[in-house]
Point group: C2
Chain length 125, copies 2
């Protein structure tokens, strides 16, 4: 069994997710958490992203053509908005539903994902 230590680094990484509240890339995590832990290394970020994921505290967010981002687990069904201005990803509530109707004949629909693209409120100017 792996004992989990409560390190400054791990705390700072969790804090980044808690305070920003939207999906973060490993780089974004690094930059944000460095406010609390100067000299934080990218390897530590990846290590903690993985272990927080194993703990069920984080979930990966995969978007088209992008490396995975991560967000806090346990949120309800939702989707994402990818801002073309700042490249940040935001959570959006709600879901258009009505997907069964467009699923081709004979296909079994298990799941779906969708992504909105545009400009977030700060980038819309």
């Amino acid at each position: 069994m792996t004992t989990q230590r409560d390190t400054r680094q791990r705390r700072a990484i969790r804090k980044a997710f808690r305070t920003l509240g939207h999906p973060l890339s490993p780089q974004e995590v690094l930059e944000t958490a460095r406010a609390d832990v100067e000299g934080l290394g990218i390897a530590t970020v990846y290590r903690n992203l993985r272990s927080l994921q194993d703990d069920g505290w984080l979930e990966p967010v995969e978007l088209p053509g992008e490396p995975a981002r991560y967000e806090m687990a346990g949120k309800g069904h939702h989707h994402h908005f990818h801002c073309r201005g700042c490249d940040r990803v935001y959570e959006v509530e709600g879901c258009p539903g009505n997907l069964r109707g467009i699923t081709p004949m004979g296909f079994e629909l298990e799941d779906h994902e969708f992504v909105l693209y545009g400009r977030c409120d700060s980038c819309a100017a």
Copy 2:
């Protein structure tokens, strides 16, 4: 200016897209086009994917966590179904619409993309 030669390889690659009619990965293109051009190289596939894209004949299809696939350009607005059985991607017509309603306040919606996951008719058994 770049003169475009009508090679056996290029013809076979275009044929693969025309006959299969769904988004193809470079590997799928290679395997399919090798039916017509034995010994076709992967570099040639990539070269032609790029030039056919520059010609506006192909368009990239980006799906979450996957390298890009390609499909013939000029189709209308549509989305994709990713089969978890055979890993193939299919085109689906229609669109749930109603996305403005779930876009957060102050955000400018420009575009959207969505992906259905499940089993295609041959994999649904």
